[in-house]
């Protein structure tokens, strides 16, 4: 293998160099800017995590699994997983192998960083070596892998259902340009390498193709324009990359270490939010995931469009999209790259100006009677009295003495305030409730409403108090033999409340309890894929009619299990589902109360 062109340069590499230079400059600029946007503590945390061997190892593993192999996509749909990983990993290997070729055969050129990309143009085959043929074979092989991925991508454009996606995001203009450039890169590379294969050598793909072309193309005049074309589409792709969804390629490499460093979204537009916005690949998985997408009118309010509008700076749409969302968290749970749609939305809500603000610091709170176990039922439970009554009755049966702190009404836990973006007000409520709970001297706080439970877990500091959802508490009581369950003949399907399941990761205890007191069936979409009941307080602007459609969709999913009744563990879910349900909807506490001694 020898250098064919003494200068090591040909003008056709210029478009690639321009594009590459631009992408590098942009990424460095963005990286510095984002790091500067982080708070001092977050920045420190981030840098420390980079040198921590455990996190560093996790970073590398995640980058391989997420960026190159798309493990999550494989789990979702193998065809979709293959499509993405073939392009990502194939392209990665082409670059790596290109570098190996340069190091092995023309080591003096390693400082020219276009060399590995256009290697086949610049070299001529002197005498075949085993190493060369293996590398050529691998280059052709990975090119074929990428091409198969591109072919699948083209099929997916027209038939996304084959890939397990009902709907995909509508591409914007810049995304379309990027897409076509990306599609063009690899066929052009194949052509370019094919045309020069008789000079530089080729393998099973480029070799025979070169032979075929040479049968009817008499001269070599066509090969330089092809290399030009290859370089130009590369250049175009690089130039649109920062403005298109393909920014997710470099951005994900920053998001992974940031996530592993434990950073949280703290700003509407800056820092981690910006990284996540850049990392959104516009795949549109969140569209099918979103419970609101049962109505066509809401499709443009899914997370993929939120990130797009934040990039465009369209304030009106950002506000609309942020306010409509139920914050059910399903898009986040299914997102391949980890965009935190709900958290980003809450931050958008938090930058509003309100001329009337709430303050709870001056309200007098009730003393809570001293008790080891205190029960907090939450505001919504007052509209669903069966829950509180059943919880109390079950605890009594198990011999637990309990003080019901908000039996006759109390203060809100603050989560509705927090998710509405009123952070200060929420803090003020947290302070009051904390005061009340601590005054009781309790060591256990039993909570029945998942909304409150999540708030207590995430936003309260209650030293010496164990916060526990009643489903977990009951499960422990059963295990400890303090509660005895008998099975009824009914068959229940369990509806996972968003805040309890995706929000707090409690999936098994409620199922275990239902399973011990009745037969249990599963719906198609359950656990982290469960559909929001539509009643969520997360949404600020959804109307009752729009919510009704979501509720009906959630019910259809539950009906499909053919169960006689629906079980859930959230007063809001119960109230919302039972409005339109054709079969009974019961809270787990009620079921346990009926089936326990």
């Amino acid at each position: 293998m020898i250098d064919r062109i003494p200068s090591g340069f040909n003008p056709f590499v210029i478009p690639f160099l321009v594009g590459m230079g631009f992408v590098f400059a942009y990424c460095i600029y963005a990286l510095v800017k984002i790091l500067l946007q982080l708070s001092f503590e977050d920045r420190k945390k981030f840098f420390l995590s980079l040198v921590n061997p455990k996190t560093a190892a996790k970073n590398i593993r995640d980058m391989f699994c997420d960026c190159l192999f798309h493990v999550k996509l494989w789990k979702r749909n193998p065809l979709l997983g293959y499509m993405h990983s073939s392009i990502a990993f194939g392209w990665f290997m082409l670059i790596v192998l290109g570098h190996i070729e340069v190091i092995l055969f023309v080591p003096t050129r390693i400082n020219l960083f276009y060399y590995p990309i256009f290697f086949n143009f610049f070299v001529a085959e002197a005498d075949q070596t085993m190493k060369g043929s293996l590398l050529f074979f691998m280059m052709d092989f990975f090119l074929l892998v990428v091409l198969s991925g591109i072919a699948l991508a083209m099929v997916k454009r027209v038939r996304s259902r084959l890939f397990g996606m009902r709907r995909t995001a509508r591409p914007s203009l810049v995304n379309t340009i990027g897409l076509y450039a990306l599609w063009a890169i690899f066929p052009l590379r194949l052509l370019a390498e094919t045309f020069t294969a008789h000079i530089s050598g080729g393998s099973f793909l480029t070799g025979p193709a070169n032979w075929i072309f040479r049968q009817f193309l008499g001269n070599d005049l066509h090969y330089l324009p092809t290399w030009w074309a290859y370089s130009i589409v590369l250049g175009i792709f690089m130039c649109v990359l920062p403005f298109s969804r393909y920014m997710h390629i470099p951005a994900e490499m920053l998001l992974i270490p940031m996530r592993n460093a434990g950073l949280k979204i703290r700003n509407a537009r800056k820092g981690l939010t910006r990284v996540q916005v850049f990392t959104c690949p516009n795949c549109g998985v969140c569209i099918d995931a979103c419970p609101m997408s049962v109505s066509k009118e809401n499709i443009k309010d899914c997370t993929v469009y939120l990130t797009r509008q934040i990039r465009r700076g369209n304030e009106k749409r950002i506000a609309e999209i942020s306010d409509k969302c139920l914050l059910c968290g399903k898009c986040e749970a299914l997102c391949q790259v980890g965009v935190q749609g709900p958290e980003i939305r809450i931050q958008q809500r938090a930058i509003r100006d309100y001329s009337i603000r709430q303050d709870f610091s001056d309200i007098a709170v009730n003393e809570v009677r001293k008790s080891h176990v205190v029960y907090f039922s939450g505001c919504m439970s007052q509209l669903v009295p069966s829950v509180g009554r059943s919880v109390e009755s079950v605890l009594k049966k198990a011999g637990v003495e309990v003080e019901w702190m908000d039996r006759d009404g109390g203060l809100c836990c603050g989560r509705p305030m927090l998710t509405a973006g009123k952070t200060e007000e929420a803090r003020s409520l947290v302070a009051k409730n904390t005061e009340m709970i601590l005054s009781s001297g309790a060591d256990t706080l039993v909570v029945s409403c998942p909304i409150c439970y999540r708030m207590f877990v995430e936003n309260y500091a209650l030293p010496g108090v164990r916060v526990v959802h009643y489903s977990v508490y009951f499960d422990e009581l059963v295990k400890a033999g303090r509660l005895h369950l008998t099975k009824s003949d009914l068959c229940y399907v369990y509806h996972d409340p968003c805040e309890l399941g995706r929000g707090c990761g409690i999936y098994d205890e409620p199922r275990r309890l239902v399973g011990q007191s009745a037969a249990i069936a599963e719906s198609d979409r359950c656990r982290k894929e469960s559909i929001c009941c539509g009643g969520s307080l997360g949404s600020l602007s959804l109307t009752f009619r729009q919510r009704e459609k979501i509720t009906r969709a959630a019910l259809e999913n539950l009906y499909a299990s053919k169960a006689d009744a629906i079980a859930t563990a959230c007063p809001l879910c119960k109230a919302t589902l039972s409005r339109f349900s054709d079969r009974p909807v019961r809270d787990i506490a009620e079921i346990i109360d009926l089936q326990s001694r």
Binding site: Q382, L383, V384, P385, R389, F544, S578, R579
Partner: protein, 335 residues
């Protein structure tokens, strides 16, 4: 002579049958329950004259004796056949009818759907229907010497959340009637009616209201009940806003009577689909026109009477049934 099938043997169906008999036809009544009479049969007395419901029912029953009556029977299919309708009953009988009258009525709203009112959760929360059954001489352990009784108007009516945004028409007057009846039984009991608007539109209804105020001292509170709780001694704590004084209000009662409204009868929806009848936004059957053609459906030969097209009082239902008989007669004569 062509057959006439009347689906539903409540007061609408029976009165239509009575009139058709008078016109010389022998109608066929198909009633899914085991006895004729529908909802009215389960009522004690009817406003505004406190007429015993059983009187109306037994009179109607006597007068329609010559008609063909299938009780405990459902129509399982209906299809159009050359200008007539072919109906199959679940007892295997099939009928070719020249005209069909839908007198399928309504359903009483399931009060447990409004859990905040505690029906099915708290023992002493009952419905208007439960109270009528008790007044008719039934046993009900939930009612024993109450010192205070609350009546909640508009339960499942005028309520989008309950799936019925329409007024049920009869509940205001029924609440007043039942309030008076309870006051007669328990003169010392305080009675509270929680209402949003009092809709006392019919003949003598206003007198009834004045009666309740002046002679029985029933308290009328303008505010919709929002929540019901239970005290330690098992009484009910009712929460509402007294909108006239602008203050939140709570009161303890021994019984709370929920005035369950009238909602569309979903059990006929399969039949309605087969006959290709139009449904209104409120779920009730849609008349061709709400002024002139209330009794006519969008299909020739199918007629409506009573609460299948919307909420009605008993006299309105009877009047419609009479008119429907005449419409059917005209249709068969001219068709």
């Amino acid at each position: 002579m062509k057959n006439i099938v009347i689906i539903g043997g409540g007061v609408a169906g029976m009165e239509a049958a009575r009139q058709l008999l008078a016109l010389g036809y022998t109608p066929i009544i198909v009633e899914k329950a085991n006895a004729l009479g529908g909802h009215v049969a389960s009522w004690y007395r009817l406003f505004p004259d406190m007429t015993p419901a059983s009187e109306i029912i037994s009179r109607l029953k006597k007068e329609i004796a010559p008609a063909n009556v299938f009780t405990g029977t459902k129509v399982i299919s209906i299809s159009r056949e050359k200008g007539d309708y072919s109906l199959t009953l679940d007892n295997g009988v099939s009928i070719l009818a020249g005209a069909v009258l839908f007198a399928t009525g309504f359903k009483v709203f399931d009060a447990s759907k409004k859990e905040e009112y505690g029906y099915g959760v708290y023992d002493r929360v009952i419905t208007n229907r439960d109270l009528e059954a008790w007044l008719s001489g039934g046993e009900d352990k939930r009612i024993s010497a109450p010192k205070a009784i609350g009546f909640v108007h508009c339960v499942g009516s005028r309520d989008l959340k309950a799936g019925n945004s329409q007024c049920s028409k009869v509940c205001c007057t029924t609440a007043i009637k039942q309030a008076i009846e309870m006051k007669e039984k328990f003169p010392k009991a305080e009675i509270y009616c929680f209402y949003m608007d009092l809709r006392l539109f019919g003949k003598k209804y206003e007198d009834f209201y004045i009666n309740a105020q002046r002679d029985f001292g029933v308290h009328f509170i303008r505010g919709r009940v929002s929540e019901v709780g239970e005290t330690i001694d098992g009484r009910l704590q009712v929460k509402a806003e007294d909108t006239l004084s602008g203050k939140p209000l709570k009161v303890q009662v021994d019984n709370l009577v929920l005035m369950s409204g009238m909602v569309c009868n979903q059990s006929v929806s399969e039949l309605v689909r087969q006959a290709r009848l139009d449904i209104d936004d409120d779920g009730f059957l849609r008349s061709r026109n709400n002024i002139f053609d209330i009794l006519e459906s969008n299909r020739p030969g199918i007629f409506y009477a009573g609460a299948c097209t919307g909420t009605k009082t008993v006299p309105e239902t009877l009047a419609e049934a009479r008119a429907a008989a005449l419409e059917i007669h005209n249709y068969l004569q001219n068709g």
